[in-house]
């Protein structure tokens, strides 16, 4: 039988081995399940993991899809590091996009791109406000932030649906639930490449990610705030003795993660949709949870994790088109991946030991 023996030091090797092994195991179990349910496993594997790399514009689409995942994942990283469980990023994304959309639609003739600064900040505020509800309830009344943040996702989804079908509906939309198109100043353009034109949907929103990752890295590793978050997460007792206020940290990480989710919402809508519609997110907020974990709660890791998960998402879209596999199937991979990643975390701290009684299965 297997037992776990604590390691004296956290294993450095496992920090790198675990994500790779997890991905291998995930693919293996994913294939088993596909075979069991009667889908062609090789074809599925090709569609999900290889087809997104088959053309250059598809590769740039991976980056486009990874963009919101990385931004939200970076915010969630701060929460999860300090043991605050914000699982409502999906709602914060929607509310950020909605508030920014409201501002954008209020200035229908604006053309200067400086206006984007305003919509991005508004989006940050929208997301942060939505995260403020679980934050204040958690810190003042000790209400479980997991359930509140999740319930607010449903509320946000219904709210944007109401706004887009009601107050902000474009009278010229021929009955479709769409807002008016955004003004030029609120749109994020595609990046032109000299000689090639555009690469898929690749847009300037990517620059935000390029900026965010180093800032997040410096914040987590080089500032007092980042230090507090790390201590609170890994040694809550030590944080208490050091006099770090748990409440103010909880409040800060929730507001930051909500704000970042809101910004991701603005970028997604301004770059890819250009107007408000009932569905703006497609589950980015939930997927980003997996991204944060796959990235080992580390900004650089999250960058890579975002790209990997975006690949799977695009692959699942392809699999849906070519094989009729429902695209929620990505959840299957994400779930298994998370299980193994978490097991990897245990293996960082514990060694496996095979004990004598090999043939007796005991729980």
């Amino acid at each position: 039988m297997i037992t776990f023996v604590p390691r004296e030091k956290i294993s450095k090797n496992w920090i790198f081995i675990a994500p790779i092994l997890s991905i291998v195991f995930t693919i293996f179990f994913g294939l088993l399940i596909f075979t069991f349910l009667g889908y062609n496993p090789i074809e599925t594997l090709y569609q999900i993991f290889v087809s997104p790399f088959s053309r250059i514009d598809r590769i740039s689409d991976i980056l486009v899809k990874a963009c919101p995942l990385i931004i939200i994942g970076t915010g969630l990283m701060l929460c999860f590091k300090s043991n605050v469980w914000n699982i409502g990023a999906e709602g914060q994304f929607i509310m950020g996009a909605l508030l920014a959309g409201f501002i954008a639609l209020s200035f229908p003739n604006i053309e200067t791109k400086f206006f984007l600064l305003i919509t991005l900040i508004t989006g940050f505020i929208g997301g942060a406000l939505w995260a403020f509800i679980p934050a204040i309830l958690k810190t003042k009344l000790n209400v479980n932030e997991i359930l509140v943040s999740l319930m607010l996702v449903y509320v946000a989804m219904l709210f944007i649906d109401f706004i887009v079908r009601g107050p902000l509906r474009d009278p010229m939309s021929f009955g479709f639930p769409l807002s008016k198109p955004y003004p030029e100043g609120a749109l994020i353009n595609k990046i032109p490449f000299p000689g090639i034109g555009f690469l898929g949907q690749l847009h300037y929103g990517i620059l935000f990610v390029v900026l965010l990752i180093p800032v997040a890295w410096i914040f987590v590793n080089k500032t007092l705030g980042g230090f507090k978050i790390n201590v609170l997460g890994s040694a809550p007792q030590a944080a208490k003795f050091a006099g770090f206020s748990q409440n103010s940290i909880t409040l800060t990480v929730l507001l930051l993660s909500g704000g970042l989710a809101g910004v991701a919402g603005v970028i997604e809508v301004s770059a890819n949709i250009g107007q408000l519609q009932p569905e703006v997110s497609f589950g980015y907020g939930f997927t980003a949870i997996i991204v944060a974990f796959l990235g080992r709660l580390n900004p650089l890791g999250i960058l890579f994790a975002g790209i990997i998960i975006a690949t799977v998402k695009l692959g699942a879209d392809n699999a849906q088109m070519t094989m009729g596999i429902p695209k929620v199937v990505t959840g299957l991979f994400e779930g298994i991946l998370l299980f193994f990643l978490l097991t990897g975390e245990t293996l960082q701290k514990y060694k496996i030991k095979w004990s004598e009684r090999k043939y007796k299965w005991k729980l």
Binding site: L137, N142, L147, Y154, L158, F159, F293, L342, L363
Partner: protein, 303 residues
């Protein structure tokens, strides 16, 4: 009026079952956030089985087994591999959403027969009460039986007291010689079984066909109900009926054309959950003894 009460009861039964199962798991110290996932598995398991065997009762069994299967995945990782319970539970829900989407795809558009009502001899003839209380389906009776059973189990049986001990202080329970991991396995699987039956009830009684994510957040509301009931079984009945009532009220409101946009009405169950949690949590933080002290903490001791 009578029909309305019957619909409210039917709506609250999945919540009731899932919350009861989760209560037992949490009493043993396991916080399983995968309730939504286990309910979805129960729903798809029941649908598939009833389409295959054409008997709604097999659907209940299939739902229970699917829920338990999901709960055992959760148990392997959290109890044996000592992973973080919150993250694993989230993972379970995400996993089950994908798995049921895949397994449910061939079932789309097919309808199953509904679970028959069982009239209890003579009692069902009592005016008003009779048809509400004694003309229900098997699962409704079962869920009340489970609540009564676990109330007594937790309070008076030796196993129930051991279960609570494990949830309150796993280290001491371990030192006295109780198999902490095994007890948590059983409790989690019981939780999975209840959530699975609760999930199965949705296609068997409420909407007889498959749609992706058809539990629509009921698993999460069930989790909130456990807090709302402050871990006391009978209070789950009250909570579930309130939420059933709110869900039905908004449907009635939409049908009768209340001058409130339908989306705002649909928000009611979710907002009510937040309000209920807020009201209860303020009181709980003053009286901490009802919350299982080891809730969510992995047990590292070897056996």
């Amino acid at each position: 009026m009578e029909a309305l009460i019957l619909t409210i009861i039917a709506t609250s039964i999945p919540l009731l079952l899932a919350a009861t199962g989760e209560l037992i798991a949490e009493k043993s110290g396991v916080l399983n956030l995968g309730v939504e996932g286990m309910m979805l598995s129960g729903a798809v398991g029941a649908l598939g089985t009833v389409l295959w065997l054409e008997n709604p009762y097999y659907g209940i069994v299939a739902g229970a087994l699917s829920g338990m299967l999901m709960a055992s995945i959760f148990s392997i990782f959290t109890i044996n591999f000592m992973t973080n319970q919150v993250a694993t539970g989230l993972g379970l829900t995400i996993f089950a959403t994908g798995l049921t989407g895949l397994a449910g795809a061939p079932l789309v558009g097919k309808t199953i027969p509904s679970l028959p009502k069982i009239e209890i001899f003579l009692l069902s003839d009592i005016p008003i009460f009779g048809s509400i209380l004694f003309k229900q389906d098997f699962v409704a009776y079962l869920s009340i039986a489970i609540i009564i059973f676990i109330s007594f189990f937790l309070k008076y049986s030796k196993s129930g007291i051991i279960l609570r001990a494990v949830g309150d202080d796993h280290q001491s329970a371990h030192s006295v010689g109780y198999p902490v991991k095994k007890i948590r396995w059983y409790a989690t699987c019981f939780g999975g079984m209840c959530a699975g039956i609760g999930g199965a009830y949705i296609p068997l009684v409420l909407t007889p066909h498959w749609s992706e994510g058809m539990t629509a957040g009921r698993g999460w509301i069930a989790l909130a109900l456990v807090v709302f009931a402050s871990w006391i079984p009978w209070r789950i009945i009250v909570g579930a009926l309130i939420f059933g009532g709110i869900t039905i009220a908004q449907l009635v409101g939409q049908a009768r054309g209340w001058p409130i946009p339908s989306q705002l009405l649909s928000m009611m169950p979710y907002i009510a959950t937040i309000i209920a949690l807020t009201m209860i949590s303020g009181r709980l933080s003053k009286n901490n003894s009802v919350v299982p002290s080891s809730l969510g903490r992995p047990f590292f001791g070897s056996q």
